[in-house]
């Protein structure tokens, strides 16, 4: 029988377990200092060759990365799911007001894919909100987004985004993986694969989702959007739930205290270690480390989710009412995740699919998203973290200049040829607007930026060359940007 430590059950299960492992297992488990999600899996498939030493230290990533000095350490991607209208957010179109009610010229629409407006009369719809100039930069932003207007000097607005897919599900898949074919890794997984995790007790890629109670019927978001595809599955995003356990199976079974759970985990690991004296299987050592990490997460994730230690002025700035799963709460969690070293933080807010009653639902979205977005940027800036955090804000596509009016008040249909996004923070030139659409906002015509270009630029800011961040699968070196993508250099600081 192994010797018993008197202080084995101290109030801090984290420290205790580590001590227990180090002091009591029969292996000299060097992996216990592990600082990230670093299972071995079949890492021999990593095309660039796994870096074994780094794997043990938790900064595992393919050799030779990053390719050059990064401008940003992490990404917070604020996905406005459903597709915000560029006409009511970042892309003023006076010409569309002039043509309001007139047929959309066929020169724009002939041969173009059309979503719900198929077979209907296509009529110009004037912008439904006014624009104002904001900040010293004088950037034009809708009057409905006044808090975002307040951070205009931090933002690089890109008005010339375009994508390949016109329906939500495949368009999200393009935005996350660069293609609409399922089974490819999402950008967060690519980045984690390239740079490893810097989070000791949390997954390196975290997804948070919010839905307003009074928004338009929201679109589904598939778990595919944060899947690691053919990359090793430890690079998969972990979706934190807003109900129940924030991470699946995070809570110990009922009636089992943390210390009892710690005792169980330590027994399992010691038994595994005994058996491994015979088997000499390195996977078992990894497993022991993963059990320890799982147990640490049982404490660290609830701590992260509990924002009661935040001062009132911070809660007020975000508009957080409590741990309610709102976008505001998730923005605050995003900052906490960033502080904890999480590499890729993705927030989905699902209410932006404004086919009808655009004015009403835009007010709902602005109420829920405007203030927290600005608060997040300001908060990061105050903490000196904005310079090292890349913020990306936008949807999976934009909306039509044409009216959709088959039910309720007027709205706009899906549109893939042009939409607006903004970037801020790490390595981005703030206070500028880049690219432009035609006079009716239909096509991106000036400096078009495809999703591949966005990806190339994001990777660039993280110190990764998108043409060299590759993974061999089915005989081919795959990239996030496939065979396309160009870094959008004019928007870099």
């Amino acid at each position: 029988m192994l010797p018993r430590e008197d202080n084995f059950w101290s109030p801090d299960p984290l420290r205790v377990t580590r001590r227990a492992f180090l002091g009591r297992t029969s292996l000299g488990l060097g992996a216990l200092g592990l600082a990230g999600l670093t299972s071995a899996g079949f890492a021999s498939d990593d095309s660039v060759g796994p870096n074994q030493r780094a794997k043990q230290s938790g900064t595992e990533h393919p050799a030779g990365l990053p390719h050059f000095a990064p401008r940003a350490k992490r990404v917070i991607f604020l996905c406005m799911a459903g597709g915000p209208s560029h006409f009511e957010t970042f892309d003023p179109k006076p010409k569309l007001s002039e043509m309001h009610g007139q047929p959309m010229p066929a020169s724009f629409t002939a041969g173009q894919p059309i979503a719900q407006l198929q077979g209907q009369q296509l009529v110009c719809q004037a912008p439904l909100f006014g624009f104002r100039r904001w900040g010293q930069s004088g950037q034009q932003i809708s009057e409905v987004l006044r808090h975002i207007g307040g951070i205009a000097d931090e933002l690089c607005i890109v008005r010339s985004m375009h994508t390949d897919q016109i329906n939500h599900d495949p368009a999200h898949t393009v935005m996350n993986t660069g293609t609409s074919i399922s089974g490819r890794p999402s950008m967060g997984s690519w980045i984690l694969y390239g740079l490893g995790s810097a989070a000791a007790n949390l997954p390196g890629f975290v997804v948070l989702t919010s839905t307003s109670k009074d928004g338009r019927n929201p679109q589904p978001i598939a778990a595919r959007q944060w899947h690691s595809g053919f990359l090793p599955s430890r690079h998969q995003g972990v979706a934190f739930q807003s109900h129940g356990d924030p991470v699946h199976y995070l809570g110990s079974p009922p009636g089992v205290t943390p210390s009892e759970q710690g005792r169980l985990v330590s027994t399992v690991s010691r038994l595994d270690a005994i058996r491994n004296e015979l088997l000499a299987n390195p996977e078992v050592e990894t497993r022991i480390a993963q059990y320890e990490l799982a147990f640490r997460m049982q404490t660290s994730v609830p701590e992260l989710m509990n924002v009661s230690d935040e001062p009132a002025h911070v809660l007020d700035a975000y508009g957080v009412q409590g741990a309610d799963g709102s976008f505001a709460y998730n923005c605050l969690l995003a900052r906490r995740l960033a502080e904890s070293g999480v590499r890729f933080i993705q927030l989905y807010h699902r209410d932006w699919d404004h086919h009808n009653d655009l004015v009403k639902f835009m007010h709902v979205c602005a109420r829920d998203c405007d203030r927290p977005t600005a608060a997040l940027v300001n908060d990061l800036k105050q903490r000196g973290m904005l310079d090292e955090t890349l913020i990306v804000w936008g949807g999976e596509f934009g909306r039509t200049p044409m009216a959709q009016s088959n039910k309720g008040g007027v709205g706009r249909d899906h549109h893939m040829r042009a939409f607006s996004m903004f970037l801020a923070g790490g390595g981005i030139r703030g206070g500028i607007t880049y690219g432009g659409t035609d006079e009716l906002g239909y096509h991106a015509v000036e400096n078009p930026v495809h999703v591949h270009d966005l990806h190339a630029t994001m990777l660039h800011l993280l110190g990764l060359d998108h043409t060299r961040l590759v993974f061999r699968y089915q005989g081919r070196a795959f990239r996030l940007t496939d065979v396309a993508g160009q870094v959008v250099r004019p928007i870099l600081a």
Partner: protein
């Protein structure tokens, strides 16, 4: 092989991959991207001349070979590959090319495309005349490397290995005892036969097939609504259990509807053609989604049968393999007659086949008889009986409604119905809006098959070609995957890519021998499985010696067995078997084990709740779990089960904290541990030590070591003290799940033992195949 140098260099193993990786992108199969019409992917091209007449490769003379001159050219303007291609050759690679040319520049057909010829059996010195042919091939290679087979694994390991490999379930202790206790030579073979004859064999084999064909219970796009398809899954299980020859299995799935007078089973099998993702999203355009499903079927069918990445030729000719974009769309055209919609609505996935149970059939017959009786009476009414008319009419309406309700409630499954084929065109750059491409008819990939005659080819023709004797790929692909199932890694590691970029097999002659044997046996899968598991190679221990770890870390020579963590479904099955909760009912609608609340929060149209099954359906095998493509059950996902949106030939094996959390905290495993604890108390003896030994043996088939028992006794006594002092905690732990709580034992005692059984269910050994 003629010369020593040729033995040293295998063109397709050593030389072609260099050309493929570094040259084919510009000098390969893609006509559009090919520079200067120079092709290095064909014999003609390689041994031919440049446009200006320079010989590319002069056998025996590297300096006279333009290829060698260019890869060693000192000046950037002449050097190949050009710097901007970003694929420079290493000195070692240049040296390989030089020595290959020097040795005579022998060209070989790609290993997977050449005709199947049964190789002669090697005669390794260590093999006796009765040895399994597999062993001859493996041993011959080992002897060349100066290695030998590892010792035969111990009986307990073998019993577990066979049981897990052939049924996906751990053996019961009595089976292990019988196996280990019987020293006769026939026990092994008899145990194999027993396992092959069990219904669990078909379930185990189905898991792999369902990954390949991307079987799922939901449509996959957007709202991801349910689709009726579980009878297809049951067809697959039955096909493996009945040992349906693989050629017939192929015909029935691709073209069962085109067989003469198809049976119900053959029609159910055609659900294969309907397993593509589908959408109901508002604003989705039918033409776009028809194009998506066409491409999806090409990727899947070429992946399942040919391990070909034909899907890469959707937008352009393949960069590495001789598939053209025209091949891609011609292949898609085989499925142009499949009746389907681009965009579905309201949950229907017509055409579907109704599959009434015998009771439902009888009830329908009754209702129809009653209805025609009413009709008969209505028709025969004379003027005097006019007063009866309203009552009869009401009755007729009622009967029609009841029948309608019954018909709606019948089990259904998606099937293939052939309709006049829609027009298929080559889509330039894969763009479905561009109809300028050439019209195509169904055709086999041009480099693999001669063009057909005048008649339009059908799915049945495709199936017949896939399983034709002279198809070089299908049998090789299938036996390579069988090898992976029983050894852990394929003879070629590339289970899903037998093209130029795939890994050549470590034992090419063995691969070919197995493929021929498979065809000659009449595509007899059980015959092949028997061959594999009865081999000496299969029976080896899996613990590597220090020498083998150094010499062959990835076990590509098979001087030992493989070892791996179980598949997601089998991890669940093991816990259910160990706790004796497994309900061994085969087939039926998919089931819903416990799932974290709110996991489906982001599903919509309609919003849905996961309602965990009550009663026996809660305790079914993992493969029956409702397979929701966009939100696969998180405990399956944690152990790498694929979403089944795309063909998956190889699951990764991860080792993550999510996996640990599942085994520690998922109520399924907590309940299994608690029920197992109750069994330990009831059946495991009367004192702690014997109970621990009993539990250990029940899960791991072996006796615990003293150190192992000691750790569990320690855990037990601590847990006992805690739970005895805290009755409510004990009660809440034992209340997890639906299984009855034993009243023969105090909750504190059950809870204390639950800590022990949880530890056992969490062991690496419990979830591993060694």
């Amino acid at each position: 092989m003629a010369s020593g140098a040729a033995v040293e260099f295998r063109f397709y193993r050593d030389v072609r991959p260099i050309l493929s990786n570094h040259c084919f992108r510009c000098h390969g199969p893609d006509a559009e991207k090919r520079e200067t019409e120079l092709r290095l992917d064909t014999r003609q091209g390689l041994l031919g001349a440049t446009a200006t007449g320079k010989a590319i490769v002069v056998p025996g003379d590297p300096p006279a070979s333009e290829l060698y001159r260019r890869i060693t050219a000192p000046h950037a303007d002449e050097q190949m590959p050009p710097a901007e291609a970003n694929v420079p050759l290493s000195q070692a690679q240049i040296e390989v090319l030089r020595r290959w040319i020097e040795a005579g520049a022998q060209w070989q057909e790609h290993w997977a495309y050449g005709p199947l010829v049964r190789p002669a059996l090697p005669r390794p010195s260590g093999a006796g005349p009765a040895d399994n042919p597999i062993d001859r091939f493996i041993l011959a290679r080992l002897e060349r490397e100066g290695l030998a087979f590892s010792a035969v694994a111990d009986a307990i390991t073998l019993a577990r290995r066979l049981s897990l490999d052939l049924t996906g379930l751990p053996p019961a202790p009595v089976e292990v005892e019988a196996f280990a206790g019987d020293a006769s030579g026939s026990r092994y073979v008899e145990f194999v036969e027993k396992l092959l004859a069990s219904a669990a064999y078909g379930e185990r084999m189905a898991v792999y097939w369902l990954d390949l064909v991307r079987y799922a219970d939901s449509g996959g796009y957007h709202s991801d609504v349910d689709q009726p398809i579980s009878p297809y899954r049951d067809y697959v299980i039955a096909a493996f259990n009945d040992n349906l020859p693989f050629d017939q299995f192929t015909r029935e799935q691709l073209a069962g509807d085109l067989l003469p007078r198809p049976t119900i089973a053959e029609r159910i099998a055609t659900g294969y053609n309907r397993l593509n993702k589908t959408t109901e999203e508002g604003g989705a355009q039918a033409g776009e989604y028809l194009a998506k499903s066409a491409a999806d079927r090409v990727r899947t069918t070429s992946g399942v049968w040919l391990a070909a990445t034909l899907g890469c030729a959707e937008c352009h000719d393949h960069k590495y393999d001789p598939f053209t974009a025209r091949d891609f769309y011609s292949f898609a055209a085989f499925f142009a007659d499949v009746k389907e919609q681009g965009v579905y609505s309201a949950g229907g996935r017509a055409p579907e086949l109704a599959l009434p149970t015998p009771d439902q059939s009888a009830r329908m017959a009754e209702l129809k008889a009653a209805a025609s009786e009413v009709e008969r009476r209505l028709a025969g009414l004379s003027g005097a009986q006019a007063d009866d008319r309203p009552a009869l009419e009401t009755r007729a309406k009622e009967l029609a409604e009841t029948l309608g309700e019954l018909k709606k409630s019948l089990p259904r499954t998606m099937i293939t119905v052939s309709v006049p084929p829609r027009e298929m065109r080559v889509l330039p750059r894969g763009n479905w809006l561009d109809s300028s491409g050439a019209r195509v008819e169904p055709a086999l990939p041009a480099f693999l098959a001669a063009p057909s005659g005048q008649r339009r080819l059908t799915r049945l023709d495709l199936a017949e070609w896939l399983v034709a004797r002279d198809n070089p790929l299908t049998a090789r692909v299938f036996v390579n995957r069988l090898w992976k199932l029983f050894f852990g890694v394929g003879l070629s590691k590339s289970l899903d890519d037998f093209g130029a970029q795939g890994e050549p097999p470590t034992h090419p002659e063995l691969l070919d021998w197995l493929a021929i044997e498979f065809v000659d046996s009449g595509w007899d899968i059980k015959h092949m499985v028997r061959l594999l598991v009865n081999s000496r190679a299969y029976r080896q221990a899996s613990v590597p010696s220090a020498e083998l770890i150094a010499r062959d870390p990835a076990n590509r020579l098979f001087a030992r067995q493989g070892r791996w963590r179980l598949e997601a479904e089998f991890i669940r099955d093991a816990a259910l078997v160990i706790s004796k909760q497994l309900v061994r009912r085969i087939g039926g609608p998919s089931v819903k084990p416990y799932q974290p609340e709110g996991y489906w929060e982001f599903l919509n149209f309609p919003k849905r709740d996961w309602k965990a099954d009550r009663g026996s359906d809660q305790y079914r095998r993992g493969l029956y779990t409702h397979w929701q493509r966009t939100f696969l059950h998180p405990s399956l996902l944690a152990f790498d089960a694929p979403s089944r949106e795309e063909c998956a030939a190889d699951r990764p094996v991860s080792n993550t904290p999510q996996g640990a959390l599942v085994l520690l905290n998922d109520p399924t495993y907590v309940e299994c541990a608690r029920v197992f604890a109750q069994r330990v108390l009831d059946e495991g003896g009367t004192d702690d030590a014997s109970r621990i030994a009993w539990a250990w043996r029940g899960a791991l088939s072996r006796a615990p070591e003293a150190r192992e028992s000691a750790l569990l006794l320690e855990l037990l006594s601590e847990s006992r003290a805690k739970f005895e002092a805290n009755e409510p905690a004990a009660q809440s732990l034992v209340a997890v799940g639906q299984a009855p709580i034993s009243n023969r034992h105090r909750p504190g005692e059950i809870a204390a033992w639950t800590a022990v059984t949880r530890a056992i269910l969490n062991l690496h050994e419990t979830v591993s195949r060694n």
